[in-house]
Symmetry: C2
Subunit: 156 residues, 2 copies
DNA sequence: TATTGTTATACTCTATAACTATA
DNA sequence: TATAGTTATAGAGTATAACAATA
């Protein structure tokens, strides 16, 4: 059986990254671009972005949460959260419910469809996470999470 | 001397992050937002974004680099690199030079002003990096960089 | 045919400021 | 006065598709 012809090792000239190679910020951006693209490829068909996934998961874990609380948790401005929730409500995944004591606030709840979509999304996110950390052991992945959590802790 | 009145410990209700807390992608986004904001606060006055800094540093370390090579190195589309370089050329930080053998390509070079701006930017980036990793030891910071470099290695 | 740079275009994401209704 | 949600608006950043010049 003949050895399969080896594909030409396309020599793509790579630039010297120099000092960039030592910067946390640079690698953070690189990693985030790759992760975001894989996330989009995997969850895009469900029309679920990272922010939407986070919002659905947060409402699920904190039923009755207010818009401003959600906004703070995902680091968006209150006004930006409005369009996210408009989107989710239009898709009948979330409802804004009236709050008894405070007629200014909305209490957010998942609909049955929202819960169901979240269930599907969670499965896709789980395999996405597995993919992105394919080269890391379980301990290394946990350590990456821990180290990331210590970047600008004063901003949390 | 009277003990200074302690500031009220503002009790801000925090949502339960649930499974988000275990996701690399979630923490990556959190960290990047914080890092980007500090970068902008520090280098915004110089009108230097992360991409612009990377491009200046890359041209400095790879004089004569072509636009497409730069685009690949910072993970932008060729067409997006055009506006970045239009910006830098308008500010007389970079010049597009003709290439002898290939009349399709441009060879990028820093001007004296570009070199000088990069020098200032490097100093600001150095203190920015120090700030973001304030809570990490030197070894931990290096490990964070190493771990980030192993996220989606197949995309590099 | 393939590559380099370019243009026109459009889209996504997000913030700011000002408004309203409540508290 | 302060807060919750909203609206109108604008800006940054990026990609896609099509094109001309050149290889």
């Amino acid at each position: 059986m003949p050895r399969p012809k080896r594909k030409e090792a396309e020599i793509v000239p790579q630039l010297d990254l120099g000092l960039l190679n030592r910067l946390v910020g640079f690698h953070l951006r690189e990693a985030q671009i790759a992760v975001f693209r894989d996330f989009a490829a995997s969850l895009g068909p469900l029309d679920v972005s990272p922010v939407i996934f986070a919002v659905l998961a947060l409402i699920d874990g904190n039923p009755g949460a207010k818009q401003t609380e959600l906004a703070r948790a995902v680091r968006l401005d209150r006004s930006s959260m409005v369009s996210v929730l408009d989107n989710l409500e239009r898709r009948e995944l979330v409802v804004r419910q009236a709050v008894a004591n405070d007629r200014r606030s909305n209490a957010l709840q998942l609909t049955a469809a929202g819960t169901e979509l979240l269930r599907k999304a969670r499965r896709l996110v789980a395999s996405h996470e597995k993919r992105l950390a394919r080269g890391l052991s379980v301990a290394e992945r946990a350590q990456l999470v821990a180290l990331l959590g210590r970047v600008f802790p004063e901003h949390r």
